[in-house]
């Protein structure tokens, strides 16, 4: 119990640090936020949001590894891989209050710092400073999304692969290869072949 409490404390300190990157927040301002935050824990391979369910939460990962995917006729298309400090949830469902077409599922045991839709609305209403932080976060997410969208259109398979392993080497250790291949929209066979191409240099 004691150990758990101290790890929650670390998680919340992490959250304070995270939000302060967008806008400096004093200790007392951060205290305003705390009653709205829920700490949610999941085992590995647990479904956090199911298809058809309305997404209740906006989640920041305190610890763990999570993926989001679209179930399709022919398999699953991974649309996001997220680790500590990343935001993951079913956005369309959360904001439009409609049944989710995506599934959010943990890969490793995961701890989320979450805020429900209702709490978020209340928080914005009562503390305009957090509305500003909300605006800055969604702006940042949009810019990143646009960047990824642009890369998908502009780059070929090989370039996308090379870019990803350059910028996400930590993910290669933790995430099953098939999920990364799906995320990059590359066939698993192609992914293996590309991975092979990179190795010989190291061995010789």
């Amino acid at each position: 119990m004691g150990k758990q409490k101290s790890s929650y404390k670390t998680a919340l300190e992490g959250l304070h640090h995270y939000l302060s990157r967008y806008l400096p927040i004093s200790r007392s301002e951060f205290q305003h936020l705390l009653p709205y935050i829920e700490i949610r824990e999941y085992d590995k391979k647990a479904k956090v949001t199911k298809e058809g369910e309305v997404e209740r939460y906006f989640n920041i990962i305190a610890r763990g590894l999570v993926r989001k995917y679209l179930p399709l006729k022919e398999g699953e298309q991974t649309t996001q891989l997220a680790v500590e400090g990343h935001i993951i949830h079913s956005e369309l469902s959360f904001f439009y209050r409609t049944p989710s077409t995506s599934v959010v599922e943990t890969i490793e045991p995961t701890v989320f710092l979450s805020i429900s839709y209702e709490s978020l609305e209340q928080l914005y209403k009562q503390h305009p400073k957090f509305e500003r932080i909300g605006r800055l976060i969604i702006t940042d997410l949009f810019v990143r999304k646009d960047h990824r969208f642009f890369d998908q259109l502009r780059k070929n398979t090989r370039e996308r692969f090379l870019d990803y392993i350059k910028t996400h080497s930590h993910m290669l250790q933790r995430v099953p290869q098939k999920y990364i291949a799906s995320y990059l929209n590359i066939k698993p066979e192609t992914f293996s072949r590309l991975k092979h191409l990179m190795r010989p240099a190291k061995k010789s």
Binding site: T79, E91, I138
Partner: protein
């Protein structure tokens, strides 16, 4: 001219007349001929534009090929959004297809509005969220629907654009070859003539 914008915003948040006036005060009216560039590649986007009248496309060059990522008409926003929001140079070009009129706001003006009025900041947050979700929805459509389904969905939602936008642009926007676009267009026209 302001009515269209007011209507758009009231879909998200109800602003008082004073709040709306405060915002309207910062807007500039900009007129462009057809085939004029609003934004060049490599420039930082300085404006957010609400289309009052006209038609605009956003695109980038992949080698020599133009790839269109947005087509905007009356009642919609267009600019090189990521550049506007991040301050980084735009990889996109923004160009009018028809003579167009915009209500535009600069980054500095927008920041000042946010600074002075939390309710306008709320509008900003919600509009950006909306843009984010539109992009998400588009990505999902590309993954879930095949070429034919995407074409039919587009035609259903944008019958007017079929008349106004050159076919090769629509094909580029829908990420299909112009030949494929022509073939699909044929498919939807046949039943109508047969019925007559």
């Amino acid at each position: 001219m302001l009515d269209t914008l007011k209507k758009y915003i009231s879909g998200f948040v109800s602003l008082t007349n004073e709040e709306f006036a405060l915002m309207a005060n910062e807007l500039v009216i900009r007129n462009f001929d057809k085939r004029e560039l609003l934004t060049r590649a490599g420039e930082v986007e300085n404006y957010l534009n609400f289309v009052v009248k006209g038609l605009v496309r956003k695109y980038f060059y992949k080698g020599r090929t133009e790839i269109i990522t947005q087509i905007a008409k009356e009642g919609e926003f267009i600019n090189s959004s990521a550049s506007f929001l991040s301050g980084n140079p735009s990889p996109y070009l923004v160009e009018t297809l028809e003579p167009s009129t915009f209500l535009s706001v600069t980054r500095d003006q927008l920041e000042r509005l946010y600074e002075n009025n939390p309710r306008i900041e709320r509008v900003g947050r919600i509009v950006i969220t909306h843009l984010f979700l539109q992009r998400e929805e588009w990505e999902h459509e590309c993954l879930r629907l095949d070429t034919r389904e995407r074409f039919l969905r587009f035609v259903e939602n944008n019958p007017d654009l079929m008349q106004r936008v050159p076919q090769k642009y629509l094909a580029s926007y829908l990420n299909m070859k112009p030949e494929t676009f022509s073939r699909l267009k044929h498919l939807i026209q046949r039943p109508r003539t047969a019925a007559r």
